[in-house]
């Protein structure tokens, strides 16, 4: 077999590959099958240039473009960009013999581990066909006894305030005398969730920040610090303080509208993070305040938080550092005892709690954790909201739900279950081009999102990405307004915690109880 021809990448040359770079041929079946219609292929080599997994190559002898299906991750980049539609990428029709217990995925993972001896890594969110409770909830609308409202003709309000609320206000001579805890105003109850620079490219974080500015909402730096260029978006930034404390310094904290302490992430509850050294470019290294090329490892716990009192100390340390100007958020993964933890977090002084469900995305996580640990956000949200209400402390905290919000319908359902706002991460990346190939951890994202390779990263034009993000959130906001109008309400606060606007379909009594909704037809 001929060595692949050097790809003629325009600006940046791909490193010359040696024969020894090729992996020993694995005995795993390929996941995808690449099919090329040779009648259509004009040998333009677009596919060769586009595929960072080096699936396509030019064979001089036969003067043909060929491919190695086993390296394909199914990202569809080549198929979309092929000018003659010569390529079809589909799940490999060849599968191991069907088995009710041992799926092809199990067999492949076992083989992979037998070959490497390591943890199976993955990216994006849990892809298992577990129940999605959003799809089992139906929304109400008004008929006859109360009129529905047309959002195109009448005002419809989505403005939301993040931050703790007092029990009441005092007024003297028409002036507010109560001093309000810090509040952050957003124009739609949708925020971009934490995605660090490092996990994603500079261009994508820039697009998220600019979209947040344009939409009047917030983006979240994730645990990777705030790049010096991005301080100009400070009025729309949530900055994270995570276990690795990357990029945390007084200016960083004070640049934020909200400081978020990251305890956990829905895709990988209970474990830390690992940004491979290859992704720690010069610019990432400045932002994270670590040497370039070194692995950025976030420990599993925050080593100064071993208990709720410790969390309280950190919450107040941050409040001190920011002069009590900004709300402090605590983000936790949805886990079985989320309600009790959330109650403790309120008492620890947090102003915002972000709960991340087990379908939330990730740049890198052990697959066994992504697919087996945690709780659906619907359950965690419903039980946290209920617990805080029962304890009479719900107003002391803003609840943000994230991890698996896929549409405006999910947003409406989340707010009716008790969320003040939602975080979207995966949906935002899909808007920018992500096709959920789950290879984010490899640094080779063909869509230029989860990568620091300048050749790949420039595939995302930040202006276009910004526009697409703005369109997405505007579209959803519009749909939310339509649904509110249908329920006969003209302001988002009249939906909050209004579980009677929901009915469950095909759910057990226990599930309905946890969600606090009545069955459909009742």
């Amino acid at each position: 077999m001929n060595a692949p021809r050097n790809n003629s990448r325009n600006a940046i040359q791909a490193p010359q590959r040696k024969a020894s770079d090729f992996r020993i041929r694995s005995n795993r079946l390929a996941e995808f099958s690449v099919e090329r219609d040779y009648d259509k292929c004009i040998k333009c080599e677009v596919c060769i240039r586009q595929c960072s997994f080096d699936v396509h190559y030019y064979e001089e002898e036969e003067d043909l473009i060929k491919h190695r299906s086993e390296d394909c991750v199914g990202c569809q980049r080549c198929a979309v960009l092929c000018p003659t539609d010569a390529l079809t990428i589909r799940p490999n029709p060849a599968q191991y013999r069907a088995h009710g217990s041992w799926s092809s995925e199990h067999v492949k993972d076992i083989n992979l581990q037998a070959e490497t001896g390591g943890v199976v890594l993955t990216g994006a969110g849990n892809d298992k066909p577990m129940p999605v409770y959003w799809d089992k909830l139906l929304i109400n609308a008004s008929q006859v006894t109360n009129p529905s409202i047309d959002p195109l003709r009448e005002p419809m309000e989505l403005r939301t305030f993040l931050g703790a609320k007092p029990d009441g206000v005092e007024i003297e001579n028409g002036k507010l005398v109560t001093s309000m805890p810090p509040q952050v105003q957003i124009e739609t109850p949708i925020l971009f969730s934490a995605i660090s620079y490092g996990a994603i490219s500079y261009n994508v974080q820039k697009a998220l920040a600019e979209a947040a500015v344009e939409l009047g909402t917030l983006f979240n730096t994730g645990e990777g610090g705030l790049h010096p260029d991005f301080y100009k978006y400070r009025d729309h930034a949530i900055v994270q303080v995570a276990s690795g404390r990357f990029g945390v310094h007084p200016d960083y904290l004070n640049a934020a509208r909200i400081v978020e302490i990251k305890i956990g992430q829905g895709a990988k509850p209970g474990i830390g993070g690992h940004l491979a050294g290859e992704k720690v470019s010069e610019s990432v290294s400045i932002t994270r305040m670590i040497p370039a090329g070194t692995d950025a490892i976030s420990p599993a716990p925050q080593h100064d938080i071993y208990s709720i009192e410790d969390l309280r100390m950190l919450v107040y340390a941050i409040k001190e550092a920011t002069n009590y100007r900004v709300p402090v958020s605590v983000k936790i993964a949805a886990v079985h005892n989320a309600a009790a933890i959330a109650s403790g977090i309120v008492r620890a002084g947090a102003d915002v709690i972000a709960i991340d469900g087990f379908r939330g995305g990730t740049g890198a996580a052990p697959k066994v954790i992504r697919d087996n640990v945690g709780l659906p956000i619907e359950f965690a949200l419903a039980s946290v909201d209920k617990r805080l209400r029962d304890e009479g402390i719900r107003n002391r905290v803003t609840l943000i739900a994230g991890g698996g919000i896929r549409s405006a319908g999910d947003v409406v359902k989340a707010i009716a279950l008790g969320a003040d706002a939602v975080y979207i991460g995966t949906a935002a990346l899909i808007a920018v081009g992500c096709t959920l190939c789950q290879k984010c951890y490899s640094g080779k994202c063909n869509w230029g999102i989860a990568t620091q390779d300048p050749y790949l990263a420039k595939r995302v034009n930040p202006d276009i990405a910004r526009k697409r993000l703005v369109n997405l959130v505007k579209g959803w906001s519009h749909e939310i307004k339509e649904m509110l109008g249908g329920m006969g309400i003209n302001s988002i606060e009249s939906l909050r915690g209004s579980r009677s606007q929901l009915r469950g379909i095909g759910l057990t009594t226990e599930e309905l109880n946890v969600l606090g909704v009545a069955p459909a037809g009742n």
């Binding site: 409202i149 609320k165 719900r394 107003n395 302001s491 606060e493 009249s494 915690g497 579980r499």
Partner: protein, 388 residues
């Protein structure tokens, strides 16, 4: 715990749906007058009710006991009256107790016993709460724990009379023609999904704050969630219940004035708030973010009263009707202007308040309309009158 929901909301709907007629009349000099015009006004709006509930709140009817809380309590049987009286005697000094006088009335059936007690909380031990809170807590306790007993009203020098029937039947039954009051509010119901239960009629009352309400709150679930977080228990599944808890929380407990109450339940739009002066903007932003759960979304008009005032308000986009008018010392609120003109053909001012703008009439001061809302006071006489 007894199940008030089963009584008032037999099908366990999310809440009781209903629409209504409301009327209020006040003499701002505080002089008491007969309810005859109020009855006529309600008869004129008979279309808006269906005979499944009506009631009146009367202020100034017990001057001889004005220092005592007047508890109007309904009983479905004699046993529960004994239980309740035993409870009252442990907690209160009972100055006087008597059956509320009634007369046999055609069309009224299934009537409960209604008693009134003039009481004062006994001096308490260590866990002192103020008298008002004590009365509220005791009423809630009776309503939720004593089977067959329901506190209808609990204010001083006032009382609520309500039941199942048309307003004129209820007035007749409770002999309201024998009373004189300086504020009368009245209500007639058109419930679509509740059985007739005497306790479910309006007005709703906590201490001397009474509420008559015509509305269908689309935000009921959110309002209820907010109030239950604070500790109110919504047992009746009606909009009016959440409205009266909101009145209790904001105006009685947190002592905010009616104008602010209006800005909480029917707040201005954000685009209006954005145009306000800095101070006003700060205030309204705080009100909306702190009390967002009390925004009463969807159609409503409401007349709220206590011993010193009568307040009318409609929802922020004015989806239910309300007319206000004044003549001499008198202030009128009504679902329909025709009813006001029926009882007072000559008016000094008559206007349709803007959505979310409260009209507040106090003893000693009558409200005036915005010039823009004012209407011709010599409008055509109402059809009902002409036909007569």
């Amino acid at each position: 715990m007894k199940d008030l929901q089963r009584l008032n909301n037999p099908y366990c709907d999310d809440k009781v749906l209903c629409s209504c007629a409301i009327f209020g009349m006040m003499d701002s000099t505080g002089k008491v007058f007969s309810g005859e015009p109020v009855f006529r006004a309600m008869i004129n709006m008979q279309e808006r009710g269906n005979g499944l509930g009506a009631g009146f709140a009367l202020y100034g009817i017990y001057p001889e006991h004005q220092d005592y809380y007047a508890l109007h309590i309904m009983f479905t049987n004699r046993d529960c009256r004994h239980d309740t009286e035993r409870f009252l005697e442990t907690a209160f000094q009972v100055e006087r107790s008597e059956e509320v006088p009634t007369r046999k009335t055609a069309g009224i059936s299934g009537e409960p016993l209604v008693y009134r007690y003039f009481v004062r909380p006994k001096p308490q031990g260590t866990n002192f709460v103020n008298d008002d809170d004590f009365v509220v807590q005791s009423s809630l306790k009776i309503n939720s724990e004593l089977d067959g007993a329901f506190v209808v009203s609990s204010g001083k020098n006032m009382g609520v009379f309500k039941g199942v029937g048309y307003p004129e039947q209820i007035a007749e039954y409770f002999r309201l023609d024998d009373y004189k009051a300086y504020i009368w509010t009245a209500h007639s119901r058109f419930p679509t999904n509740s059985q007739a239960w005497w306790g479910g009629a309006h007005p709703f009352c906590m201490l001397d704050w009474s509420v008559v309400h015509n509305g269908e709150l689309s935000s009921y679930g959110a309002n209820r969630a907010f109030l239950e977080t604070i500790g109110y228990k919504c047992t009746l599944f009606t909009d009016t219940e959440v409205m009266s808890y909101a009145v209790d929380l904001i105006m009685r407990r947190q002592k905010l004035p009616p104008e602010i109450f209006a800005k909480i339940v029917a707040p201005p739009l954000w685009e209006e708030i954005d145009r306000m002066s800095e101070d006003e903007k700060e205030l309204h932003t705080a009100l909306r973010s702190v009390y967002g759960g009390l925004l009463m979304n969807g159609p409503f008009s409401v007349v709220i009263a206590n011993n010193n005032q009568m307040i009318a308000l409609t929802d922020r986009i004015r989806l239910r009707p309300l007319t206000a008018a004044t003549r001499g010392n008198f202030l009128y609120f009504s679902s329909e202007e025709a009813s006001i003109r029926l009882v007072s053909p000559e008016l000094d001012n008559v206007w349709t308040p803007m959505g979310g703008m409260p009209v507040v009439g106090k003893i000693g001061s009558l409200p005036k309309p915005d010039d823009s809302r004012k209407r011709n006071t010599s409008a055509a006489r109402p059809m009902a009158e002409v036909a007569r």
